[in-house]
Symmetry: C2
DNA sequence: CTGTTAGCGCATTCAG
DNA sequence: CTGAATGCGCTAACAG
């Protein structure tokens, strides 16, 4: 049944026929115990409910299956404890390698990753790189994408640009130094996107205003609150950059509640394109991430290491796509 | 390490300490080979990229984990062959039970399900019931929900109501008989929703018009085409019922391309609520499915069978919620 | 309580 | 080519 050893064609037929008739299935677990390999990839994403990760997972499983590997995916719901537990489950189930979109925001939170690698099981990071972790990472050009978006806004005249979900600091951020410190303790993607935002402002000589940067817990509701608060400012933003799907829907709620129209009253740009963004009226200008390719490349890197290759860990950066639609216009006056 | 047998507290401490220091992890595979149980649930959904299924999976894994079960989820991408292969993987990995949202549209396509049950591994269906398969099923009141939606439309005066994604028949459907035959060969959810639509029309004495029912392959693009075609009719629909997320975005594309405004020119109701639906302008009237509870209840039923309970298979029906927002209005004149 | 032994279902090695 | 024996890492049953 395992397709090894020598058998006469005739015996093989008889065995196969008997197996078929009896409904026999080889026990993959016993096989793994015996061989030491499971031909299975473990994946733990931050939130499988996020269409972005669903796309990445699709990319992963398509290419891993093409190589004869199963994939078992777990979701940590952006919770570090759950992430560790999930990795434990994968290690116990003896997967041959692990793909991880980690909720860790600092090197000390990434111990479990290093430990897994120390045990000899290869890990590759996806979507979120991690400093000081010697693992491959497959990501997009977050900083660039963010900068390009803000530059687009500045190019048509905006100078007050809100940033709808940034560092998840608990305390308010007032100075640039505090902001950078908070960013350093945030998810890599959030941090990068914030830096890109700052890059563009700096290049244009626009002063950074802490009131225009959302800080704290990130949910659609808090995004709506933060956006609403910005819009009530004496000098409110004329444009909003939303760094995630829920940030955008939250911002849209606030914009509508304030009785504002986009792009006339306020311009909008968001990360993570979707069908909905395209059918909004007007349609939303968005930054599209290559989810499938992200997943595919990640799986390729991991598979290579499983096959024994052992190059220097590297950060692979894929390009996002800026989709101009109808949610950007010059500010009033 | 397995927490069985008798050990002195002191020895236990020494063993645990040694295990800790050595980084020892019990091999879950070997354990399963030995005990015959894996404490893991297998799930194969039709499309993990669909937020609806992502929610169901979340419900499943939350409640199964609470019972000490891991869950490994696979996506069939609505493909029957992949579904069978996925179930094979799960059986090989010796999961203790399987949850399935099947792509099967007829009893003969459901053999693999019966086979799994014959081998002694419990299966419970979710989202889609299957006639002639003696398995538990956890679903929503699709037919009722659909009927209520159409009744709402009729109540405000609509008589020409388009049904944006119905039976996936390859040939056009002209008569009511053909329609029912096509429905019988469609996904259970699609079929139920179509019946509910027909129920409401019948009750109101409105004649069924095959031109107002989309038939064929179901993608956002084909939905847009179908809707566009309906809108070009000499006697076009004044309302559209969209039975899925992509059907709604497709319909919206067509509505916009035709230069129509909702709800003034055309009313809209859809299945599967989302943040986007709520922030559309006007916001969309939608039918919300209790995804989490659907998943949770499904897991409960399966867990019960794994624990040895063996009641008569039953179809458990949960209630959907009709969320009235701003996409329904009386037809013009 | 402790130490030993057999056995789970497979892959692999080694005589015939 | 075939059959039997050994071991993978674990649980379970059994003497001491």
């Amino acid at each position: 049944m395992g397709n090894y050893g020598y058998v006469s064609p005739e015996l093989r037929e008889r065995v196969l026929a008997a197996a078929e008739k009896l409904g026999y299935r080889a026990n993959a677990l016993a096989r793994s115990v015996s061989t030491g390999v499971s031909h299975t990839l473990g994946v733990v994403v931050a939130d499988i409910g996020n269409p972005f990760f669903a796309g990445v997972v699709r990319g992963i499983s398509d290419t891993s299956r093409a190589s004869g590997f199963d994939t078992i995916v777990l979701s940590s719901h952006e919770d570090l404890a759950e992430e560790k537990a999930s990795m434990g489950v994968l290690l116990d189930k003896r997967v041959d390698g692990i793909i991880l979109a980690s909720a860790a925001v600092s090197p000390k939170e990434a111990k479990h990753i290093q430990e897994a690698m120390d045990v000899g099981i290869p890990v590759v990071l996806v979507d979120r790189a991690l400093e000081h972790v010697a693992a491959d990472a497959v990501v997009i050009d977050n900083r660039d994408a963010s900068r390009r978006a803000v530059e687009t806004l500045i190019a048509v005249g905006h100078r007050r640009i809100g940033f709808v979900w940034g560092p998840s600091s608990t305390r308010p951020v007032a100075t640039r130094r505090e902001l950078l410190a908070a960013a350093a303790k945030s998810l890599w993607t959030d941090s990068e996107r914030l830096r890109g935002y700052l890059d563009a402002l700096d290049d244009a000589g626009i002063a950074f205003d802490p009131n225009l940067i959302m800080v704290g817990v990130k949910t659609e509701a808090t995004a709506a609150d933060a956006a609403a608060q910005m819009l009530r400012l004496p000098d409110p933003p004329t444009a909003l950059l939303c760094t995630e799907n829920d940030a955008m829907t939250g911002a849209l709620r606030a914009v509508r509640a304030a009785g504002l129209k986009y792009p006339g009253d306020i311009s909008l740009i968001g990360f993570d394109d979707s069908s909905w963004a395209a059918v909004m009226d007007p349609p939303l200008t968005m930054i599209e991430q290559p989810m499938l390719r992200l997943g595919a490349l990640t799986a390729e890197r991991l598979l290579a290491r499983i096959k024994g290759e052992d190059p220097e860990p590297e950060v692979h950066t894929l390009e996002s796509r800026f989709i101009e639609r109808g949610s950007v216009a010059p500010p009033r006056h």
